[in-house]
């Protein structure tokens, strides 16, 4: 961002962040998660700052984005957990089928790539930790950006696995 864009973001931040925190906290019930929703909203603003600067009501745009973010975060977490539970359940089913089969088929050959995948393991840890992405990133000693990208990659791999093995 250039100086004008950064100043634009900062002004909106100072005007809105407090009210947005109150709304997010009311909806999400957790202060850390509420702050993450607010911070992520402004991150989205930064990615589109040039067009939002031309918007007739940038503050309204920010609030609309916050509303979308507040709705999506718990939904995405729920879906991630469902995918992880389903994947684990399928692993266990295959493992127990193989254990009772006379032929020693390795049931994990098909899934080993994903089960051993670093991003997938990270996603499992994140889901179990029940924390925000920024808290998790600090625990791992990586940037929030890197952590978010690895988690997104892991979710995509899980979705691809389910599509391929439907």
């Amino acid at each position: 961002m250039n100086d004008a864009e950064r100043s634009f973001v900062e002004q909106l931040y100072m005007r809105l962040a407090g009210m947005m925190m109150a709304t997010a906290l009311h909806e999400l019930g957790d202060e850390q998660l509420a702050e993450e929703a607010v911070q992520d909203t402004f991150r989205i603003l930064c990615s589109k700052v040039a067009e939002v600067m031309k918007h007739p009501n940038p503050a309204g745009w920010v609030v609309t984005t916050l509303m979308n973010t507040i709705r999506k975060i718990p939904q995405q977490r729920g879906r991630t957990e469902s995918m992880l539970v389903r994947f684990r359940s399928e692993q266990l089913t295959r493992a127990s089928s193989a254990a009772s089969a006379e032929d020693e088929l390795d049931p994990d050959v098909k899934y080993a790539d994903l089960a051993d995948d670093d991003d997938y393991i990270l996603l499992k840890r994140f889901s179990a930790a029940q924390c925000t992405i920024v808290e998790f990133a600090k625990e791992l000693g990586i940037s929030v950006d890197a952590c978010g990208k690895r988690l997104q990659r892991a979710r995509k791999k899980l979705r691809k696995y389910f599509e391929e093995n439907a």
Partner: protein
């Protein structure tokens, strides 16, 4: 004028309206919610019950933790949809470019008025409004962008004893309201009116279950249609009264939504898809109100 309307509301009422808009996506858009938030903040400060957040410290944390790499957007990825971005189509190969053919097809459907149930993902042009959905969201949108914004408005809460009374009071005689399962009783009815949109939201309760009925009349060129969260289940299209009604699920809830002329309508609650189809049929079977 909208601000003055919100200023007359209690803190609890404002919080409820904001919650309905955020959680349900069916009440007010971001512009109006911003006004609500500002009024709410002012009221809480006067009542000395405002939450205290260290915005300067938050800004420092934003710059240190969230700003690096911000050009890639949300840390939650593409799953989070930005305002004014059309949802992606669910199936490949579909194109809305055949506007004339779509309109002809729709007019044909209206003339035959066949009641049937189909399940497929497509959008078609009806009164300039297109239905689009993905695995996660459903919404109507107008093909031409509109830059109109909310200005002025009023809210009537608890004034009418039924949606039918409220519709009649506003001179609306279209068949819009379905018959609901027997044990549900009206628990809340709010009418909101702005320069561009007249909205009716009613909650019917059979504790602990709630069915929410929303009817909105959009002004010409308005594109402030609601977005509905949905799960990955199919969108079922049920035709009745010459209109296509979309039925979808979001975990335990079933959502029905449709466009009738300038009216955008939705019903949401815990009922089955077959119950939904009965409700839809009942709209056009009701004899007067």
């Amino acid at each position: 004028m909208l601000k003055r309307t919100f200023e007359e509301m209690s803190i609890d009422k404002l919080e409820q309206l904001i919650h309905d808009s955020v959680a349900e996506g069916s009440c007010f858009g971001g512009d109006a919610v911003l006004v609500m938030m500002e009024v709410l903040d002012e009221k809480k400060r006067r009542a000395d019950c405002a939450e205290a957040f260290d915005v300067d410290a938050m800004w420092s944390r934003f710059c240190a933790d969230y700003l690096p790499g911000a050009e890639s957007g949300s840390i939650y990825g593409d799953d989070l949809v930005m305002p004014a971005e059309p949802p992606r189509r669910r199936r490949r190969g579909f194109s809305v470019a055949f506007r004339a053919a779509s309109i002809a097809l729709v007019l044909g459907v209206l003339l035959t008025a066949v009641v049937s149930t189909t399940a497929y993902a497509r959008g078609f042009d009806l009164w300039g409004v297109v239905a689009r959905w993905t695995e996660e969201q459903f919404g109507f949108e107008r093909e031409v962008e509109s830059l109109e914004h909310l200005g002025g408005g009023r809210v009537a809460d608890g004034v009418y004893s039924s949606i039918d009374d409220a519709l009649t009071a506003y001179g609306i005689d279209e068949s819009l309201m379905p018959s609901l399962p027997e044990d549900y009783a009206l628990s809340r009815l709010t009418v909101t009116e702005t320069a561009e949109r007249l909205g009716f939201i009613a909650e019917y309760t059979d504790a602990p279950r709630v069915i929410t009925v929303s009817i909105a009349r959009h002004g010409d060129g308005s594109d402030a249609f609601a977005t509905h969260e949905k799960d990955a289940g199919e969108v079922v299209i049920h035709r009745a009264g010459g209109i296509e009604h979309y039925v979808m699920t979001n975990l335990d809830n079933t959502i029905i939504t449709w466009i009738n002329g300038s009216f955008e309508c939705s019903v949401r609650g815990e009922f089955s898809v077959s119950d939904a189809e009965e409700m839809i049929d009942s709209i056009y079977e009701r004899q007067g109100r």
